[in-house]
Symmetry: D3
Subunit: 135 residues, 6 copies
């Protein structure tokens, strides 16, 4: 159903740049599973390398936001973008990082509330209060 | 610049339904400041009441997501929707709830990364892996 | 603030294709006012002609939807697209076609409700019920 | 395909809050059919209750917009949001409320026209005419 | 899965306006294949005629942008809109017009980069530099 | 109006990571002008470095798409995202790379056409033709 080929492990093994990223995905995640997103990006090794490198830096390095918060932000973006693949993969990732049913329920309520108030603000073209401006 | 009138406190004082919500906003937030969003919604008292009631339930009741996480999810939605008012007001709210510069920097990186990978998944129409499906 | 020049009446008078459309806008609307949208499109006369012709056919010809309903659909689209110009111009048009404050309040509530439920359906990736499919 | 479980009637019967909403949906619509949207929301009873209560108020209470107009606005929002579930369910709802093929054809033309002119306004960043501003 | 009927050639043969457009699609493209988009639009002959006429003018007339560039712009829009049908049909069209794997890889990188920087600009609400303004 | 501080050259001079990127921007573009986007990103040096590095790779390295085509794709994305800053800055960039008024007119027509047909495909939920699928 994709617009491009999804690379099998056999095909990935032949191209060193792809092989290296697939191995790093497996080592980093401690799992043999390489999901379709990376198998699709394998068609363009440089994009594959840069994207994986960025995802590792942004999503996996320890920082000042906890991993679950990052996943929730990711799903929120994916929901508004109506990206079915992204919603599925990052909801799975969030569950793997401990998202409980209660947290998911609250998260859904926040996204829905944000959408509703966004549309109200956009349709009424409400001017930004001075109190919210910087500098 | 709005498509409707923004209600002053004097005008709000005359309509009981609006007066009650404005007073509850002030009491709940322990601040005299009522931002333009509510002054615009005052044109439709029922929508004002239902929206304020929902926002209180979703954003302010203690639950299983911390208040700052909720604000970050809110800003993420507002960014994708390109809702200038919402981005401004909820970024201010997030700062008031303790968002540090470092956390904001990480948050921006996550939103940007999500957008980039969303577009890659959407443009290649990548099929959802079976591993991500429920049931 | 535009990315292109907005044509004055003097400039429009020199290019026959633009002059003709501006005159038709004035005659059709029975008003001397030509709004900035058409002054921007004047930079590309063929696009100006095709767009004005389509808008006249879609929005102004009498059909089976009343003119106010069409404007509400238009504003709904513009709100989701976060198109400030479009929200302003079509909210003004809707008011000129009789939109009351009560109707506008109900409309805002419907758009907000649609956004909220849209995000819930998108985030949970709810499968379409067989009952909703055609054929 | 959903990211969460869709509740069966048997499961709904066990949780009073869910059971009550499902019964009210059936009574209000005078139909035994409970569509997947509500079966998904059943995972979070409070969100289910608030959403159903809001939908009833906004979409079903008699007001100053007719029910079909509200559905068309709903479909317009769902189309721009690319919410497949919402487009399907509300197009079915609109047909049930009397949407004719001719009206649907006109509606599609309006949505398409709005999208086209939205993109033109957004790409040229056309400034809002003073005539469209309030106050 | 559509919300409306997709017209077969037999059905199209009965309605002159539809028959004429289908024949022109085949003649213009020098192919017997009429894709589902036009079979769906056949439900509303006037919309079918206007849309086909516009597509021919915009996408097929020789102009100052090459045909492949136009298709890339089209796919970019469709990606952001999360329009699965449009992404599929115009990626196929771009390949038919000579899009190479290397060009597609670069295109994907540009779209992804644009999305990421868009979200950064929108979330920080960066003011437009004077240098970018016209006039 | 931004949600964060825009760094002056004096402030940038104090932080080595920011100073280095600002100098590279000036050297790469052969211009003293550093636009607000980078002055905003300066608040988060790692994000600044990664974003500038990616933009250089994607937009400035010679490849198989010409620079103007890349800018047009960028503006198309920014238009759909309703990102005012991005539309302004990349339209200016496209003009600097030789975009003529005639090309811009054709581009606007393509984006508008894509939006219109996207909404038609999304609202009718047209199934993808088998002919467009890969593999």
């Amino acid at each position: 159903m994709a617009t491009i080929k999804l690379w099998t492990d056999e095909e990935a093994a032949i191209v060193p740049a792809v092989k290296t990223v697939f191995e790093d995905i497996r080592a980093t995640r401690k799992s043999d599973f390489v999901n379709n997103f990376w198998r699709a990006l394998a068609n363009q090794p440089r994009l594959l390398e840069r994207t994986w490198s960025s995802v590792k830096q942004v999503m996996m390095e320890s920082g000042v936001l906890d991993p679950l918060t990052k996943e929730l932000v990711y799903i929120a973006v994916s929901t508004v973008n109506s990206c079915s693949y992204c919603v599925h993969s990052h909801t799975a990732a969030a569950r793997a990082k401990g998202l409980s049913d209660e947290q998911y329920a609250e998260f859904l309520a926040v996204v829905g509330m944000a959408e509703e108030t966004n549309s109200l603000a956009n349709s009424m073209q409400i001017p930004v209060d001075r109190e919210f401006l910087i500098g």
